[in-house]
Amino acid sequence: MKKSLTKSQTFCRNSAPPTFRFAKKILLKNATLIGHNYDERKKFDVLIIDGKIRSIASPNEATDDFAGEQIELAGKLVLPGFFDMHVHFREPGREDEETLRSGAAAAMAGGFTAVATMPNTDPVTDNQEIVEFIKDELRDHLITVHPIAAITRRQLGKELVDMAELIEAGVVAFSDDGKSVLDSLMLRRALEYAQMFDVPIIEHCEDPFLAYGGDMHEGFVSSNLGLPGIPAIAEDIVVARNILLAEYTRSKMHIAHISTAGAVELVRRAKDKGLAVTAEATPHHFTLTDEAVSSFDANFKMNPPLRSPEHVNAIIAGLKEGVIDAIATDHAPHSIEEKDTEFSAAPFGILGLETALGLAIKQLIKPGIFNWGQLVEKMSANPYRILGLEAPEIKPDVVANLTIIDPDIEWTVDKTKFKSRSRNTPFHDWKLQGKVHCLFNNGYFYLNPEF
């Protein structure tokens, strides 16, 4: 049965207090569990006490006189908590666009239990103080934040950050996201130094000379629209260099928001060689093509840009074949003033957290490209593995880190209802299916108030 949400069930923008609470004693009834140990046709009762999974049992074995809260999960799916390893939360610096707390609220609304924040804050996340500030802001929160620090001070590409100190403060990777480390020697040093901590270097791959002045993917659409193009090879060339450096230094290289057929092929070859190269793709890169830019709506402006259909197909194939390890949103809030303007004047980037699940279901689950287990790999297991963190599992005696979704519910994207502080989505008014029902993480429980 399909259900629809009514307007009265939704809640208003950035409602101040967090909507999660301590998971004291909750029994999840008739749950379908997604994980290699579970038969998806069977139902289970999952008992959570003090935020931990206490037991997983067949429904009839559960005690009828259960004293705590019971949640009926027939028709819902229980998955290991989703982790978005690429978000921009704009704090410190642009709190008008997003704060750590509004970003975390958006993450919950999107079905995530953890995020990794990119360091292009203002000031740049390149020192312990800012890392501690980020972690402090979300210390007692359902959302776990894993800060990523810059590779170079102020992301200027000149001096390495104090990596060991930053690792001690809790960063999980280094990236100058927004641009590549142009100086190959600098990147070599970063890769080698980061090896001591077994964390990856995450690279935004773009040759700024080839991409110079570009507003969208270079192709027939850009030729038609008279918009300066960002050629696919601007990405491919840097991906190729980065893979060579990763091979030479035997280090971990993660390719952020991969968007071209050429880059997918390069990563495929690197993996065939057994290199420690991983990649992520965004929902918009497997959903939209450059044709969308014909509207000149700056909500279709992002970097890497929306590519032509052959690239989009290569991204989907790369996800399917395991060349692309993870789905990450590159959640990039921008103010209305900045985005509501002529195309070339607008900054790059769109929101991602609150539409990612619906788009993944629409583009990957519905057409049969992925089963639920494969989606869990891309949105939970692999992001954790790439960053050297323990991936959550659905099993007794662990802290419950769960994303529970209603896969059938139909809803219409309404940007005015977003928990994010920004509104820059190209998916407004899209009809999507599947939404978060509730979340568990860090001892907390969040029930989507729309249910």
Binding site: S223, G226, E342
Partner: protein
Amino acid sequence: MNFNRKHLLGLEHVSAEEIKLILDTAESFKEVLERPIPKVPTLRGKTIVNLFYESSTRTRFSFELAEKRLSADTLNFSASTSSVKKGESLRDTAQNIEAMKVDMVVIRHGAAGAAHYLSRCIKGTVINAGDGWHEHPTQALLDMLTIRERFNNFKGLKVAIVGDILHSRVARSNIFGLKTMGAEVAICAPRTLIPFEAEKWKVNIFNDVDQTIAWADILMVLRIQLERQAQNFFPSLREYHNYFGITRERLERIKRDITIMHPGPINRGIELDSDLADDAQYSVILNQVTNGVAIRMAVLYLLSGENKSH
């Protein structure tokens, strides 16, 4: 036929019937322009703003004159004298104009899609007078009127656009419009100034100007922006002139029977020999200017909706 458009943002999606209607309407306005008092009351009471964010002499004067010939009330806004320098956004400017109850806006802007954007911000009609490298539909329409006057129709006519195609809104609008009308189109430029996948426009692509002249009935010569040399699209103006300039020597050697057009302003002696530009045997450049007023009258009239009430 009826002209049911609200805006004229480009020619890419304008049909042959619509283009023909605009050209036919322009022809009847040309007759008006020959009268002792070249003025009609068609747009009396309508307010039109000419919103020019980029410098322009020819296009702005042409629109202004067309508006005055149609008895509209006109306002001119140019970036150098307006509050744009104070950082006012296109949206704010547009909304202010809207608050003044303006019926139509003619916009010239450096950003591709600016006219599209404006058409979403205001209730009135928007006419694109050039948006970045994207389109300049009234220029292509006046070019087509000039061509039709000389050749009577477009079927099988060979039009070669020579010069900086990559950065040219005139080239794009002409490619879209001329193809729609059944002409054969070629583009000729240094390889660096040919847009990516331009072959998908189904145009002939030349890098050799002699071959282009041998092929074409009409040469539409584009202004080469001096700043492109600094961006290394070509090594020097001298080399550009020697290899891509249209000279009397080339025409006399290859083909004397050819028509030369130029949207202006001309870099005389660089993309086009000065005396060729002024030689009526070849050049229809001044006819283009005259036709510009008639075309803009036709576009303003058809978009105003006045044709429907009559």
